[in-house]
């Protein structure tokens, strides 16, 4: 019989990431009677508000397909917003450990992004169920590309998290600025607008690396086809480079984190 055994150090590291993941989860919903329900209710309520505003106030015509697009876009955006906004204060919120015991800082980021990813993962499952039940959407082989695109998006988000947490050491008002960036960024990705129309008028928007992940996900989930190779590659190059740059920036830029914070 083949037995699979991991080294003690690896086991300890995986467990540590799991414990930090659990801690983040607990703190987020601590004291809230609705608890975890809020995590799922929050994006749905937002989707309903946008659907109502765009379908009944702005365009005055309801388009059921629009609801699916909103859903798909909001899932990704919610994840990106939560993960990056939370990462800004990561060193501060983990200083209780950093001050006393040596730890690989990357573990904080991995556990943090995993805890946010769980929300995204469950929301994607709900989306698939929703699309099947109300829109009779059935997916073929293209759905196999969804995990790859989502992984790219995760890697990009991780890179941004590295950069933001380290920038915060020098710029303590970064969270105010980031709120504005997030607010503006929402309109630069295809959540409430159709990329097929808007990109023809404003092709510059394709330079936004986030765009590629949103377009790829919509191609798979809404249009039922494989992601366009050029868009996918653009996103892939960005996710790899931003995560590598972010990692080294964090590694060297956060050396003085404790004494400066």
């Amino acid at each position: 019989m083949v037995s699979f055994k991991i080294g003690r150090a690896t086991q300890n590291r995986i467990e540590r990431i799991y414990l930090f993941y659990g801690m983040d989860y607990f703190i987020r919903y601590y004291g809230s009677k609705m608890g975890i329900l809020w995590a799922f209710l929050n994006p749905f309520l937002k989707i309903l508000i946008y659907y109502f505003v765009f379908s009944y106030i702005i365009y005055r015509q309801s388009n059921p397909e629009f609801l699916l697009k909103l859903f798909a876009g909001m899932l990704l955006w919610q994840f990106f917003t939560e993960a990056t906004s939370h990462a800004i204060h990561l060193f501060n919120s983990r200083r209780f450990i950093l001050q006393n015991i040596q730890i690989n800082k990357v573990d904080f980021f991995i556990s943090d992004i995993l805890s946010k990813f769980m929300g995204l993962f469950v929301n994607i499952l709900i989306y698939l169920l929703f699309a099947f039940l109300f829109f009779n959407k059935v997916y073929g082989l293209e759905i196999l590309f969804l995990p790859i695109v989502v992984f790219n998006f995760l890697l990009f988000t991780l890179g941004v998290m590295f950069i933001l947490s380290t920038m915060y050491i020098r710029f303590r008002d970064l969270d105010h600025l980031w709120t504005i960036v997030i607010m503006a960024g929402f309109w630069t990705v295809p959540i409430v607008w159709d990329y097929k129309i808007v990109l023809q008028n404003i092709p510059q928007l394709t330079y936004n690396p986030l765009m590629s992940y949103f377009v790829n996900v919509q191609e798979i989930l809404i249009d039922n086809h494989l992601p366009t190779v050029s868009t996918f590659l653009y996103g892939f190059i960005f996710s790899v480079s931003i995560s590598i740059i972010g990692y080294f920036y964090m590694k060297f830029g956060s050396r003085k984190a404790l004494e400066v914070l």
Partner: protein
């Protein structure tokens, strides 16, 4: 005490840089046309120490002499200036009054987190859990968030975790003085007397000279960041009192 080195510091200096450029976008934008000045405070000057495994090493000096900075550098939570080299072997934990916990989490959760960071597996933590709690005398408060703990209770818990998780190096920053509790102090003194902490390397920063005298093998005296003397406790304490 063995001949093996547990902590080695060579050419360690530490300079804190205080810049008046500000640490926000707003301040930097406002000061963009004004020249900025950086004030340098040298907290440590060229410290060279080798602490052996199992040694109890004391650090004394007046307030602001660089004792806490030295401990944080040993712990690698803050970096030494360029050229300085800090090495330690094994797991090190810094123990300071009331520190080291996430206040929102319960003692149980904090025990798991801290012990895991110190290198224990979840299984080992479960096995040692009761021991950790009973040593810290906190049986009735295991599921209470740590924010409701007094700083003495937090310190007891941290010490208990460090002892039971078998950290190799204890860096104690004015630790025992703050716990205060007679029962716990007795227990901790017993740890020293009965050699339960044998083979653990302990660095004690304290103003309590009797604690230093009774327990330390060697003592370092710091004055304004300069290492004045390393030697046996009595000799160094005498020097300290004459400063």
């Amino acid at each position: 005490m063995s001949n093996e080195i547990a902590i080695s510091l060579s050419n360690v200096s530490k300079t804190y840089e205080l810049s008046d450029r500000g640490n926000s976008f707003r301040e930097r934008a406002l000061n963009i046309f004004t020249s900025s000045s950086v004030r340098k405070i040298q907290a440590l000057h060229d410290v060279n120490i080798q602490i052996h495994k199992g040694e109890v090493f004391g650090v004394i000096g007046h307030n602001g002499s660089g004792k806490s900075t030295l401990l944080q550098i040993m712990n690698k939570s803050i970096p030494a200036d360029r050229g300085g080299k800090v090495e330690y072997y094994g797991t090190a934990i810094r123990l300071a009054l009331g520190m080291g916990f996430n206040p929102q989490l319960t003692a149980r959760q904090n025990i798991f987190l801290n012990s895991s960071v110190l290198g224990l597996t979840i299984r080992e933590i479960k096995e040692k859990f009761d021991e950790i709690v009973s040593f810290a005398e906190l049986e009735d408060f295991v599921d209470t968030p740590v924010k409701f703990y007094s700083s003495g209770m937090k310190s007891k818990l941290m010490f208990s975790i460090a002892v039971n998780a078998q950290a190799d190096i204890f860096l104690m920053d004015e630790f025992f003085g703050g716990v205060g509790d007679i029962n716990f102090q007795k227990k901790s003194e017993e740890l020293f007397r009965k050699n339960i902490l044998q083979n653990r390397t302990i660095v004690i920063v304290s103003h309590n000279m009797s604690l230093i005298k009774q327990n330390c093998d060697r003592v370092l005296l710091l004055n304004n960041g300069i290492p004045v003397l390393i030697g046996n406790p009595e000799e160094v304490i005498k020097m300290y009192q004459s400063l």
